[in-house]
């Protein structure tokens, strides 16, 4: 069974806009759900590490 990613609708859209691979982000919401705050944080630390490769992930 492929691992499911629990993320909020807004988190998914933000990750997509920022070009972040949502599967690599740790969720801090209920039950480990990825919240927009988690994406924001990941986005910021990505900016600090310019070497990181952004992977696109379609929502859904």
């Amino acid at each position: 069974i492929p691992q499911k990613v629990l993320a909020t609708p807004v988190a998914r859209k933000m990750a997509y806009d920022l070009g972040l691979d949502i599967r690599t982000i740790k969720g801090t919401g209920p039950g480990g759900r990825i919240m927009k705050e988690d994406i924001r944080r990941a986005g910021e630390s990505n900016e600090k590490k310019p070497a990181a490769v952004a992977v696109q992930e379609t929502p859904g």
Partner: protein
């Protein structure tokens, strides 16, 4: 002129599709042979709910002493069936007028008459020929009259009726036999029983509402029996004879008497006039894919006529989805999250998988149940019958189904629907702060229960 979409039938499938198509900039022709609004507005969802409101008030009035309201002589209160129906008809009229105005304001062209499809781009109606690029079939369904001995005669004499005639009765029947135990049958049983008719409900199988989660169905069945409905299960209908239905129950003949015999044994799709298209059909209706397209490209079928479910909200959602697909905005229906409601007293509302279904699909299942009797608002309202049952899977806690029996179950289910729409888990629902005192706290408690333990139980 060539329309972008021709829509056949102006029920909740067709008229919603028409408005949506117009909103998306399309030129739309909508064909209706009877009343705008279809079964739903005229002979289904709306008139039944208007009458049920009266019936529920009648039940409440009987309890007024208990609630501290004095001076009602219980021996004198009676049902004024005519007034109930005048109000019901006014509600229907207002809604039908509202929809007609919406169609006009959105620039939908409405054709009154029976549409006959000549080819997939051409429909004739009332002597006119209209042309379109796409066709949406939304012709709905009608009650089945199965070949029961004596039924034709009983229809002629006006004793055997369908839900349509039941909504136009001149007087309240003293006794009524309802053949069938589906949603419509149960709502009419609730209605007539509350209004004081002697109700007999005749069910083929061992329980009513065979499509609904077992515990809910059995709970409601017990409750209806407690309230005086005579429910005959495991019965076969042998014949209709005068004002009686003759049954066979466990090898014995049984005779059920009613001034009226309401035949609620299923509905069938309206597919007449479509023959030329060569549509793929099965016994339930016109086959469609998730985009609501039939085997003929450019021809869509939405609502009761595609035989998936018989639900007005699904018809509307399908109508919107078909239109979105026509206009290139790909979309599809998620048939796993279609709610079903029963406006009985108490109500039932359900969405998604039952416990059994979830297990069959191989999920590691967590089930959690919380009763109304442990909820403050339910007690404050004096309405403590029922429960909420959440079915979740254990890996993520994702909610797979929610099954509710409660006075406002049909309002409560929307929380479950949006949760499931967003792939919500019991963790999300438990964490959301639900207002006190409300019935919705029961959802939260049940979610806590699926994780570990509810607080109040």
């Amino acid at each position: 002129m060539i329309y972008d979409v021709i829509i056949l039938g102006a029920g909740p499938g067709g008229y919603v599709a028409a408005i949506k198509a117009a909103q998306m900039g399309g030129r739309v022709a909508l064909i209706e042979k009877e009343d705008i609004g279809g079964v739903c507005l005229n002979w289904g969802c709306i008139p039944t709910k208007a009458l049920l409101k009266s019936a529920r008030l009648f039940e409440e009035v009987k309890k007024s002493d208990f609630f501290g309201i004095e001076g009602i002589d219980q021996s004198k209160i009676r049902v004024n069936w005519e007034q109930m129906n005048i109000r019901k008809d006014a509600v229907v009229k207002r809604l039908v007028n509202g929809v007609s105005n919406l169609l006009k304001r959105n620039g939908v062209e409405v054709f009154q008459g029976t549409g006959k499809v000549l080819d997939k781009a051409t429909v004739s109606v009332a002597g006119q020929i209209i042309k379109g690029k796409n066709l949406i079939i939304a012709t709905g369904s009608r009650a089945v009259m199965p070949p029961i001995e004596g039924i034709e005669e009983a229809v002629k004499t006006g004793i055997a009726i369908t839900s349509k005639e039941a909504l136009a009765l001149k007087s309240l029947p003293e006794a009524i036999v309802i053949l069938g135990g589906g949603v419509i049958a149960v709502e009419f049983a609730t209605l007539f029983n509350a209004l004081g008719s002697k109700v007999t409900l005749v069910q083929r199988s061992a329980r009513i509402l065979t499509n609904i989660e077992r515990e809910l169905a059995e709970g409601l069945q017990r409750h209806l029996v407690d309230k005086g409905v005579n429910i005959v299960t495991n019965s076969q209908i042998k014949r209709i004879q005068g004002k009686s239905a003759v049954l066979e129950v466990e090898g014995q003949e049984k005779i059920c008497y009613g001034d009226k015999i309401l035949v609620s044994l299923g509905r069938k799709p309206n597919t007449e006039g479509l023959e030329v298209l060569g549509l793929q059909m099965d016994k339930n209706g016109i086959q469609t894919n998730e985009k609501l397209e039939t085997n003929i490209p450019g021809v869509y079928a939405v609502g009761d006529v595609n035989g998936k479910y018989q639900l007005a909200h699904l018809a509307s959602a399908e109508g919107i989805t078909a239109v979105e697909n026509i206009f290139g905005q790909e979309n599809k229906i998620n048939y796993d999250i279609v709610p079903s409601c029963i406006y009985s007293f108490p109500e039932i509302a359900t969405v998604g998988l039952t416990e059994q279904e979830a297990r069959k699909q191989g999920y590691d299942v967590a089930v959690s149940k919380f009763p109304l009797s442990a909820n403050g608002k339910a007690l404050a309202e004096g309405e403590s019958i029922g429960f909420v049952k959440i079915v979740a899977e254990k890996q993520y806690g994702e909610i797979l189904g929610v099954h509710i029996m409660a006075v406002h179950a049909t309002d409560m289910i929307s929380e479950a629907i949006v949760s499931m729409q967003m792939e919500g888990t019991v963790y999300d629902v438990a964490q959301a702060i639900h207002p006190h005192p409300t019935l919705s706290e029961i959802m939260m408690e049940a979610a806590h229960g699926a994780i570990h333990k509810p607080i109040h139980h």
